[in-house]
Symmetry: C2
Subunit: 368 residues, 2 copies
């Protein structure tokens, strides 16, 4: 048995526990230690001090390992429970326009909302590397709490694990979410039909470019901001304006190219988009040109792709543009009536056509 | 921009994507690469090849990022939705009696069941370190699938993230779970009353000792097995035999000492247990003596503490003992009528009494 192991066992014996009580008052340490994951007093104090206050809501269960929600409450909102999960491993954990905490709430809210669900309750499980500043954790948790409050969702139960230095990179956060799908909504990638229009709610690639830029050495004079946002309000507006909407998906890892390919594959239809109609910020365009990136593959965290019947497309676009998160919404293309089933094409600004394939190799690692 | 970053961007450009398509056929690589987390084809292939087949069930949604469950189905089983989450970071990922996959299913099933819920649906989010053998991942996923099937729960949605070498240790798994609580069950740590009996369902500390032994250099001739098990069947039997049961908790991190302290604190009652009545395997006892550990603080993954009204204790014990996971169940003590509110004591085998405090310092890191 080596020294590290002996040290890690110290807390188990009565006398060692007493020693550590003298050394450690309530979060006296400004750093997260392995003790904060031990299942004992230190963990309880960390949870009380950092998480409980920030997340405070009536459903948050501080005594048990589970939250409890009356089914009658859920049944008032719709007929199906939606359930989703995502782990967030983004690097860096703070970036222009957001942080891992904001992302962990928005990402899971969006995964619920794009299916037509009203997002309601989230879980929050953190894996923290020993040595993180407690204040850093507090900032992240405050950001989660603020984002959840603004989105009208409650974080109702959680889990805290601490791993030794070098066993994870700073912090990973998992949020799982439940919501309820309204009775009249039936959305699916396989529901796209020839003639349907393809809409997006604004500039593409901001998140990917912002995070990549935050990592690199390019020092842009005006850093690109991530578009990280909770989209359920925008989606409500869209579904009200275009109740026949076939499919909505947030275009995260793999960008809109991956979403379009999924739609084409699931519906066995072709899709054609127009480069000229695709909203791209000048900075993102320039950034992509310098680095040889294709912005269609860049991750977004506040952008959706919607497939809307042609007859409802104008109303949908108008509704999107009237919402703060959809001002630059655009109709970028259509589902094709014939040929190229399962393929996505783009009409380039030079008048040519190119295939927009699904991403094959690696993308930007740890982009979300 | 350094070489690593350039390399990581390669997949985004058309020509690089074509190159990588030539190099990589369907899971041609025996190792997990960053491409498997990119949101493109490689990720889809990994998910299809490793996860979808293994988890196959009618609710598993392979097209969307969310699972959908009719609320009417849930309402037939009870009146409240229970929701829980846990991340599993155990080291080593394979140990006598289980592995991280089995643990990730059992732990979350148990967190649902101890609240009186019927466990129904799990999410599965993995964070994998680049370079893991695909076959290792497959073994873990197969173990999750087998454990879920045996427990009667469905894994219905998931997420896969890959991080670079050294950014996590092999694999971390998060499972969130939902279940439904039957109408007549009201369990809570604050419901313990003087006179109530404290029951456990068998030998304590097996998991902690097994994992610690698997890490160390002691080479016991007969390795201790983790008690990792799904307890919802046993809990059903217990609740049927003792419908007045006040509280059930699985004694994981922090061991039964932490659970007993939580009960004492929440109910503002004292608790006294008898060392002589507390079931401990001879090997675990010996192991703890050699290492100077207190087995009351060792983690369990298949042991619960139940607080049962005195009048129902005999029936509860009989029911537990009739179940394969409760053969060595024992009545280890009682909630006290007076004095020592909020404190836990143990009558030692030598006739003395000692305080069983909540764990203060660090326990065994990465025990679950």
């Amino acid at each position: 048995m080596n020294v590290t192991q002996e040290k890690s066992l110290a807390g188990l014996t009565g006398s060692a526990a007493k020693d550590s009580r003298i050394r450690r008052s309530k979060l006296a340490s400004p750093l997260i230690t392995l003790a904060h994951g031990g299942g004992g007093k230190a963990m309880r104090e960390l949870i009380d001090d950092v998480f409980i206050d920030a997340f405070s809501n009536p459903t948050l269960n501080t005594l048990e390992d589970q939250a409890r929600i009356p089914l009658a409450e859920l049944a008032r909102l719709g007929d199906r429970l939606a359930m989703t999960t995502d782990s967030y491993v983004i690097d860096p954990i703070f970036f222009p326009g957001g942080d891992i905490g904001k992302l962990a709430v928005c990402g899971t809210v969006n995964d619920l909302a794009v299916g037509g669900a009203t997002p309601l309750y989230l879980t929050c499980a953190v894996i923290i590397e020993e040595g993180m500043q407690v204040e850093t954790l507090r900032r992240i948790v405050a950001s989660m709490a603020e984002t959840a409050r603004a989105a009208g969702v409650s974080i109702v139960t959680g889990d805290t694990k601490i791993v030794g230095r070098g066993s994870c990179d700073k912090i990973f956060i998992n949020t799982a979410g439940v919501g309820v799908i309204r009775q009249n909504h039936q959305l699916g990638a396989n529901r796209a039909r020839p003639g349907d229009r393809i809409l997006v709610n604004g500039y593409l690639g901001d998140h990917g470019a912002a995070v990549l830029n935050a990592r690199g050495d390019m020092h842009l004079s005006s850093p690109i901001q991530s578009d990280c946002a909770a989209l359920h309000g925008l989606i409500s507006v869209l579904l009200a304006a275009a109740p026949g909407t076939r499919f909505i998906r947030d275009a995260t890892r793999g960008g809109i190219a991956s979403v379009l390919n999924e739609i084409a594959e699931a519906s066995a239809c072709g899709i054609e988009i127009a480069e000229a109609a695709t909203p791209l910020r000048q900075e993102v365009k320039g950034f992509c040109e310098i680095l040889g990136l294709d912005p269609l593959y860049l991750a977004n965290e506040g952008k959706l792709v919607a497939v809307v019947p042609e007859a409802e497309a104008a109303a949908a676009l108008q509704a999107l543009r009237a919402h703060p998160l959809g001002r630059e919404a655009a109709d970028i293309g259509a589902v094709l009536a014939d040929g190229h089933a399962g393929r996505v094409h783009m009409q380039t600004v030079f008048g040519g056509k190119r295939i927009v394939d699904m991403l094959i190799g690696e993308q930007l690692p740890r982009i979300c």
